[in-house]
Symmetry: C2
Subunit: 346 residues, 2 copies
């Protein structure tokens, strides 16, 4: 058949070659046999340079993330599933329902097609679980030594249901802060695989899409003020961002922060602060005190929020300080992360 | 002020550091002083992890491109303006009006902030010229040797005006093919800067946004069947893609293809075929024969289409061959590009 090579891609021992990024026949084959095959939907199959679709009425939300996690595979996930979760979560933290994603791949010459297929299949699975469709994409190839295996940029669009107003600037003093679960799992799981750091752990990354959890939250309490997923920079940085945006102080209680024994001991061993370690499947939500019990209840009833707890509240503070009541009864200022704890964690 | 470092970024001798991708204070500073400052709009200034906006009624279009062009600066453009043009053009080839863009940056540790600022300013200028707004973004940093300066992934959303149906599968035998201008300029301009190839030329890349040209085209002839910008793989590959999608053959006339003397001589010198060289500011349009004169007239009246010409037509051909009548009166099959002519051209 014209326009195809006669033999299929070699997914057992083939590698990414410069010609796969040329725009010609080899790229067309990669798109057909890898991406369209895995993501399987009528938008991609049309093979236009763009996708078109209808969206429900409402305010449209757009979010993007470029993923450079190293290593590409880690306990509990890989760059493929992470690239879906990261963007789905950025979309749904606005209360929006995510619908459509684009995916841009920057591949390094020589990367095994077998591993690339594993990543792409993982993306397809994660997209299916989150109920989103990968409708358009792009593939580029760079020479050996000018990349690092695979980088994936995803962008998503979603729509905010009428009546929601969820943003970082909405928090008022007195609002309660609910954390959906344990912190530090993603960062420690990825770090456990680094060449120079390998340590024994059965810990898995928490990488997951949160749109189903958000769905029950905004249905029960449409008055939620703000939600955010504490990814790079961790919970400590996220709370500082929100304090800054809303012009409030934040006080929270260390004893209320769920943390696994494995994360706690890895952090102690490596001298890291779990408050600054990345999460990829957790969120913090701010709501008025009269809604906090109800919101906590629906979160705890959901499998992705069973460990949820009210960790503190927003307070009047012109300095916008984030402060933590420590386990020993003292108080500590939790500043922005100023150095680099863990490079390339997402 | 809390949440900021006290001194500004050093745009004269500073470099990208790993900490600029950490999610903490340094990243926040980079976002504030570089991206928000250059792209200057109320969506970005809100500093949420997503942007929300209203779109006019109509079918929504989404397109994405990851840009890895090398070198990052070339005659007539740079990776920043190219990242806007590429995605704006993918959006508007569907007839859609582009509105909002996201931008994801993958920066290599050590890259000069001065050059990065030049790229970002160029993006801002190109976005302003095209009338699109960069509403959300992401920044990652990889270690020296794991990237190549700057990669930029852009994704755009737009809306198709009611009544248009423009797609690669719509072409029928008899439809005329109009090319908007000369071919090969972008590829040859970039190539002229490659370390191992440097040659003398005053040629500029044709990199430009085509949404204003498309606007006059679809207003005059809403019945346009298909439009596409012949980027990677060049005009030859684009015509093969459309022949394949629509199930037609294509015949065109070499004498009708505008090409500059500089591109022609560079191609002869280097043994390259201009039909496969990338363009970043040209389009081909297919329309019924009764509309072709009118469409050609409005294109020629526009500064981005003054060299437009009818280059050929779609024909009945079960083999979906693309054939060119040569300048010497013969005929040649123009196959898909099967090798790699010019890596990292966009």
């Amino acid at each position: 058949m014209k326009g195809k090579t006669k033999t299929g891609l070699n997914f057992s021992s083939g590698i990414v070659e410069m010609v796969h990024g040329s725009g010609g026949r080899a790229m067309s084959q990669l798109v057909d046999e890898l991406f369209i095959s895995a993501f399987d939907n009528p938008y991609l199959s049309q093979k236009n340079d763009q996708a078109s679709f209808d969206l429900p009425a409402g305010r449209v939300v757009m979010a993007t993330d470029s993923h450079v996690v190293s290593p590409l595979f880690f306990p509990g996930g890989d760059i493929g599933s992470l690239a879906i979760h990261g963007t789905v979560n950025d979309i749904c933290m606005s209360g929006a329902k995510p619908y459509f994603l684009s995916a841009g791949f920057i591949l390094e010459e020589g990367y095994p097609l077998k591993s690339l297929k594993r990543i792409v299949d993982s993306m397809a699975l994660a997209a299916g679980e989150a109920g989103v469709t990968i409708v358009t994409g792009d593939t580029k190839v760079v020479e050996r030594g000018n990349g690092d295996g695979v980088f994936i940029s995803t962008t998503g669009v979603g729509v905010i249901p009428t009546g929601l107003d969820i943003a970082g600037s909405n928090v008022k003093p007195g609002d309660k802060i609910i954390l959906s679960g344990s912190i530090g799992d993603h960062g420690v799981a990825v770090m456990s695989q680094r060449e120079n750091l390998t340590f024994e752990t059965t810990l898995l990354s928490d990488s997951q899409s949160l749109n189903d959890l958000v769905d029950v939250m905004v249905t029960a309490v449409p008055e939620i003020k703000c939600m955010r997923d504490p990814t790079r920079g961790g919970l400590g940085t996220t709370l500082n961002e929100i304090a800054q945006q809303s012009g409030v102080g934040i006080q929270f209680d260390e004893m209320q922060i769920p943390i696994s024994a494995q994360v706690a001991s890895a952090c102690e061993f490596l001298g890291l602060d779990p408050l600054y370690i990345a999460n990829e499947g957790k969120l913090v939500a701010f709501c008025a005190p009269e809604h906090s019990d109800q919101l906590l209840a629906v979160m705890r009833a959901h499998p992705k929020g069973w460990e949820a707890s009210i960790i503190g509240e927003a307070v009047v503070d012109d300095h916008r300080f984030v402060q933590m009541k420590t386990a020993f009864g003292g108080s500590r200022v939790v500043d922005w992360l100023s150095g680099e704890q863990l490079p390339r964690i997402c």
